[in-house]
Symmetry: C2
Subunit: 351 residues, 2 copies
């Protein structure tokens, strides 16, 4: 077969080791990374895609723009603290914010399964409306497809977004420098645990709600205050650990973080212990890390801390020598370990 | 239930008549239209979305941009003349072209079903690469999600696109004027029949291939020649008939077309007769109509005809009185009938 030959000739060996797509290819960890690096990046090769950023940035007639996309397949559709609609708006708003852009316009592409209750679609749509209003973006174009019953799962949503970059900073993993201070905008792990609890019918003493939130306002406050930001990254699939490892690899730096400085709520930590999860790998939908020039770190922390979506912010580490691309964690009991990307699949369809 | 109340209070009666999503809600005809008008447009209410165009157009720092999205769920993934990859690139390129924009950048969001052969994804990716190169656009950002086996159907692709508008024309359904001449860029119905044949294992004397093609080059040639274009619309789901009815409704005009002037290949016409389809409602992926100021019509026809993707172009009608929003077809035998939008679902998952 010709196509078989094409594949054998061209498909990189690392991809060939997996003759079929696994859930972990969508988990935001090593296999997702490999698929991007070996399949998509070579095919769609261009400098913008190569930046391994949360979105692409480019200039049109002298205006700097950001452009990003994400599909949402979260299960269940509604969970404590959010739903697929608010997630689809905030996720793309946040990816634009991580590019240092002010989000302007979103698209919305729906893939509906035949038989989806119209009421469900209505609730999702109303949630998107509220989230867009809160994030100050407009949903300006869209598309609806319907697939046969049993060929989808209720509703999948894709959002893409366009934003404008109104400052002179170059915010990108490649801009991370030795000496940078790393801030985390709040406690981690709530989205992952909220989804897990909703899916498995677990209950805790207090309900653990997703941290799902729009981050563009907080980022904008940092930029307007003149903070020298080098890189921003929201902590979605793969969690804090995978985000930091990817940045370390792109910037070729050694990232050192301190476990004791990473806020994890007691109930989230407890749930992690029971369920066997590591909070470092849990998904978040309203948290990000900021790499800033170290003289600006305390000021950045103060701006974050006084913002509704940065209340639990902390300084979690810094960027050390530029010789090795690793992430090192100083543990609670004082030991040090190397942090790797998420391997395999922790919680499929988290977003 | 609170959500039930929300729904009952707010969900418009026309939507409530359908308690569940039907395949026809994604067919590009009346029900799709109703979903947009009654569910999405009120929720995401803004002037850009209200334009009922193939995409949104807006200005950023004085540059006019276009932004559009489409999800692709075509079945089968590969068909004569194309595949889901080329469709996903050309479809979004064409929506930008219909806004009068020069396509610049695309995003690609994949929703993969667990167990998808990696070779299939490779072939789709390579097809997207070729289509993007042919259309002179770059795929600059993307996303991959994986859903459990049985909760998807191989691969769904969303593409969104950003383009720049480099002329002073206002190309939009609202710009259509009495006296405009309507051009069709080539024969219709091939995509629909090609998909149908591939799906049902039908064979014809000569293979009928999809017309899937990028249209931005042809549109650009018309604009550069100074043709006074008022509206452009590609003829995807719902076909020529649904596209014209929608334009007539937005512009509040009477569109008159002449059946004998509408090119349909003999084999497509034969297949339609056997299968009981009307070519006016069949989907196309490389055909569009142009509403132009009538003094420019012959020149526009000549430009189209000399372009590889406009070889079979013809003048199919004009815009008459502005008092009634209808489409009238003069039939081959001289009678006249009113053309309506596609009702129900002709061929699900055509794109």
């Amino acid at each position: 077969m010709e196509s078989q030959d094409d594949f054998a000739l061209s498909c990189p060996i690392q991809i060939q080791r997996y003759p079929q797509v696994l859930l972990a290819h969508g988990g935001g960890g090593k296999l997702t990374h490999q698929l991007i690096e070996r399949m998509f990046a070579p095919a769609f090769s261009n400098p913008l895609l190569g930046a391994r950023h949360d979105g692409a940035t480019f200039s049109v007639n002298g205006s700097r723009l950001a452009f990003t996309t994400d599909s949402y397949v979260v299960r269940p559709l509604f969970f404590p603290g959010g739903d697929i609609g608010s997630l689809a708006v905030n996720g793309t708003v946040n990816d634009l914010a991580m590019c240092g852009a002010r989000p302007l316009y979103l698209s919305a592409g729906f893939i509906l399964e035949e038989g989806l209750p119209m009421e469900t679609l209505w609730r999702v749509t109303q949630s998107m409306r509220r989230a867009a209003a809160e994030a100050n973006v407009e949903i300006v174009t869209g598309d609806t497809k319907v697939v046969d019953k049993g060929k989808g799962d209720g509703v999948f949503i894709n959002t893409a977004g366009v934003g404008v970059i109104e400052h002179g900073l170059s915010i990108s993993p490649a801009s991370v420098r030795r000496g940078d201070t790393i801030l985390l905008s709040g406690d981690i792990g709530r989205h992952g645990i909220a989804i897990m609890a909703a899916r498995e019918g677990l209950s805790f003493e207090c309900e653990i709600t997703s941290d799902c939130a729009p981050l563009a306002g907080l980022v904008s406050a940092l930029i307007e205050a003149g903070i020298e930001i080098h890189c921003l990254r929201d902590l979605t699939r793969g969690g804090l650990a995978s985000a930091l490892v990817e940045i370390a690899e792109v910037a070729r730096v050694n990232i050192k973080i301190d476990e004791i400085a990473i806020p994890v709520r007691e109930d989230v930590r407890g749930a992690c212990e029971i369920l066997g999860f590591d909070p470092l790998y849990l998904a978040n939908e309203g948290r990000f890390v900021a790499f800033v020039a170290s003289p600006d770190a305390e000021r950045a922390l103060s701006i974050m801390s006084s913002h509704p979506f940065g209340g639990g912010a902390s300084i979690i580490g810094d960027v050390a020598s530029a010789s090795s691309a690793i992430v090192t964690l100083k543990s609670r009991i004082g030991g040090a370990r190397i942090v790797d990307m998420l391997t395999g699949e922790q919680l499929p369809r988290i977003c």
